[in-house]
């Protein structure tokens, strides 16, 4: 009798959690949509903007190098297309693949400038990438996110059955968007040119081994974009640090894929206009606002020439 009572009480607890789970889905979805409408330029909301609201002809996609290096107003004026930067700090290849696939499910931009590191296909898994990808868990899972989820592990797969988990940690992000002053310029966040940090300048050896799932999904999403009629341009931003990535297997693979699929790829990693020029950098990996202006113009010239 006592056992049955205990069991019933456990079941009631589970039932209440399930109800709260559904309430959470409804409430959080509403809050995010309202936050996006209220503050579409909020820095924290850029990845959601891309998936839910963007209608621009040109989108800039990528990690922090995208956020801080591409000025949408300059792109718009020069290329005569409405432009928007939907890059996000810390969002690496898996995030970008997920984001692009979700964007393409809703609408097809004419041009996507995809900023990626030239060692993006390496086997080094960044846990930060898995954390950032959580931005996309509230959306319906597609083939790309399912494949990434499989790699993360069965615990994560099981946990995603819960909306409470899908929205885990997201409430402050959504709420702060209403009040936060961290606005961007259509997704672009300039870095001040008043200080430089020389940290990280030096040589870094690149990882040699390829990550098969990254290669597979990268190719797949590029083909998906092409089939949808979206022109993708790949760009590697300038860096202050020297390394041997361009001798690596993952770089050769990246070039081979872009060549095979006919996708323009502009690599500024060691571009002499930037390489070693401290006045254009905020830190080893990021251009300051002066560097970003010069870089955006350079990318525009290359796009005009190639496309």
């Amino acid at each position: 009798m006592k056992g049955l009572r205990f069991l019933i009480r456990c079941l009631i607890v589970v039932a209440i959690v399930v109800i709260l789970d559904q309430v959470c889905h409804f409430a959080m979805d509403t809050i995010r949509k309202k936050a996006l409408l209220a503050k579409p330029d909020n820095y924290e909301m850029t990845s959601y903007y891309g998936v839910e609201m963007a209608t621009e002809d040109l989108l800039v996609l990528g990690p922090s190098t995208a956020t801080h290096h591409y000025i949408p107003s300059v792109l718009q004026d020069s290329l005569h297309m409405s432009a928007r930067n939907v890059g996000k700090d810390g969002a690496f290849l898996y995030c970008q693949i997920c984001q692009l696939s979700l964007i393409l499910e809703r609408y097809v931009p004419k041009l996507v400038i995809w900023d990626l590191s030239d060692d993006c296909l390496s086997h080094n898994l960044d846990w930060g990438d898995f954390l950032e990808i959580r931005d996309f868990w509230p959306y319906p899972l597609n083939d790309f996110s399912k494949a990434i989820l499989k790699e993360i592990g069965p615990a994560e797969q099981a946990a995603l059955h819960s909306w409470l988990y899908r929205y885990n940690s997201k409430l402050p992000e959504y709420l702060f968007a209403f009040v936060s002053g961290r606005n961007s310029f259509r997704g672009y966040v300039p870095l001040p040119a008043d200080a430089q940090y020389a940290a990280g300048i030096g040589t870094a050896k690149a990882a040699e081994n390829l990550h098969p799932l990254k290669v597979e999904l990268f190719e797949k999403v590029l083909s998906y974009a092409r089939d949808k009629g979206c022109q993708v341009v790949l760009v590697t931003s300038p860096r202050l640090a020297d390394d041997d990535v361009q001798q690596s297997e993952q770089y050769r693979k990246l070039c081979e894929i872009t060549e095979r699929l006919g996708i323009p790829y502009f690599n500024y990693h060691k571009d002499p206009r930037f390489f070693g020029n401290l006045s254009l950098f905020r830190d080893a990996d990021h251009l300051n606002e002066n560097g970003a202006a010069l870089f955006t113009h350079s990318v525009i010239q290359d796009i005009r020439r190639e496309i």
Binding site: K2, G3, F6, V13, I16, V17, S169
Partner: protein
């Protein structure tokens, strides 16, 4: 395998099901099952350390029986064997925890003096949980020698006591006299125990994933790059680190107590609302109680008796040795020594002023008055937080950098998005504070322990939902795993 991981829950489900079905009520089978589970759990952390655990268990099992056998016929031999047990226990600790550090420090000294060209590296991998199970074993031999307990002849029960998986990695440090008798009886499912265990586990999970793992990013960011931060940010980081430390360790202890309770076993409490301590002495009676009572029973009391002829100076000396040992128990680092010295100074101050303070309280009827109690609690919290900054520093140079940076003055507080990340952690910390406040004042308001079933059920469901929603599920290991 940490308590807040999916894999642990699967492991625990696999343990508890046969425990209460196939092995129900059969003490030997249940102990054997727990022992196997504990070895698996320990080996999952580092299987290479299993032999050490097995050898230590075997040696102390034999020692216990020998001490008891000779205690009446040959008390000197029994005493010798007991001392041998203490030496072996301390020897294990010394080899794995302190030898590498001492060799390195000595070599660094020789290097500075120009006696050697380069420091030799001595790499000794420290087994996880070593400080906890060696203390259990040392306490076991002393208790037998003192006649407090009988030597355990049931190898399965003894092995389970040493390796019991909820406590082996980070305590609480069980006493054989309390734990071993519980293993004598077969355990059947007790729904009150199960429900209480679940409540304790869920509360511990809340402390760990909603508070400790949430707010850890701030102290990590500040203390990790201390040269970029001002005094304001360092103070905030120190306060948050104190909260993190409590939530992390108390969270682990709560989960360990919960898991044990679900298995029908009661283990020691480890914390009693230390944030409400009114002085540092009271703080140590509320913080990591299983360690402080262990040190008090096996170190402080004998020392206090040995030094009793020296009056209050004897007490101060015994207190200092006691607290410095607690500091050094955490590991081999100068910062742990300074942590102990810092607390010994505070404890001596508390002891030295006790008489006058009590007279003052009596004269002005201050005892229990909020305007007297609250500032004392705040002051204690500040003092403890300062101690934890010493505790957290990676070494003396790190500690020096923090102190020198504090001298550079106040300024705008560092946020950089971290406060947004930590908001849920701060909200959870407020929930913790209110709960502790309620318990401290013994207010008759209960949620998880309400007398009404519907409040208990609703509280549990809301708690679980909140943990899933607000918990940091990709946090690090427990801080005390490193000790």
């Amino acid at each position: 395998m940490v308590f807040n991981s999916f894999i642990f829950w699967i492991f625990f489900a696999a343990i508890i099901l046969p425990y209460y079905t196939v092995f129900r009520g059969k003490a030997n089978w249940q102990n054997g099952w727990l022992l196997l589970a504990s070895w698996f759990f320990y080996g999952y952390a580092n299987w290479k350390m299993i032999p050490l655990l097995l050898i230590a268990t075997g040696v102390f099992y034999w020692l216990g029986i020998q001490i008891e056998r000779h205690s009446e016929s040959e008390p000197k031999r029994a005493s010798l064997l007991s001392t041998l047990g203490v030496i072996i226990g301390i020897g294990i600790l010394f080899y794995f925890k302190y030898l590498g550090f001492l060799v390195e420090e000595f070599a660094a000294l020789l290097e500075k003096m120009g006696c050697i060209d380069s420091k030799p590296a001595l790499r000794i991998v420290m087994p996880v949980g070593i400080s906890f199970f060696t203390f259990k074993l040392i306490g076991y031999t002393i208790d037998i020698h003192l006649g407090k307990i009988k030597a355990e002849r049931d190898a399965l029960a003894f092995g389970t006591f040493v390796s019991f998986f909820p406590t082996i990695l980070s305590g609480p440090i069980d006493r054989p006299g309390e734990f071993l008798p519980q293993l004598k009886e077969g355990r059947s499912i007790d729904y009150d125990n199960l429900a209480e265990g679940l409540r304790r586990f869920v509360w511990g999970l809340f402390l760990k994933v909603c508070i400790a793992d949430r707010i850890t990013s701030y102290p990590n960011a500040v203390f990790g790059n201390v040269s970029y931060h001002n005094t304001t940010s360092i103070i905030l980081a120190a306060v948050l680190y104190a909260v993190e430390m409590y939530a992390d360790f108390a969270g682990y202890s709560e989960m360990a107590i919960g898991v044990s309770r679900m298995l029908g076993l009661k283990i020691r409490e480890n914390f009693r609302r230390p944030v409400f301590a009114q002085n540092v002495s009271e703080y140590w009676r509320r913080w990591h109680m299983s360690l402080t009572t262990w040190i008090t029973d096996y170190v402080f009391m004998p020392l206090n008796i040995a030094f009793r002829d020296w009056g209050k100076w004897g007490l101060y000396l015994a207190t200092s040795i006691n607290i410095i040992l607690i500091g050094l128990w955490h590991g081999a680092n100068w910062t742990f020594l300074f942590f102990g010295i810092y607390h010994s100074i505070l404890l001596i101050l508390v002891a030295a002023t006790e008489k006058g303070r009590k007279a003052f309280e009596k004269k002005h009827r201050l005892k229990g008055r909020w305007f007297y109690v609250t500032p004392r609690r705040i002051l204690t919290f500040i003092l403890v937080s300062v101690g934890l900054v010493i505790f957290r520093a990676k070494g003396l140079s790190d500690l020096g950098a923090i102190i020198s940076q504090c001298g550079k003055g106040f300024g705008p507080v560092f946020t950089n998005g971290l406060l947004e990340i930590g908001t849920l952690g701060l909200l959870s910390a407020v929930i913790l504070f209110l709960k502790e406040w309620k318990d401290e004042n013994q207010w008759n308001i209960h949620f998880l322990h309400s007398e009404h079933a519907w409040i208990r059920i609703l509280s549990m469901a809301v708690m679980i939902a909140f943990i899933i929603f607000a918990g940091q599920w990709h946090g690090g290991a427990f801080i005390y795993f490193q000790f």
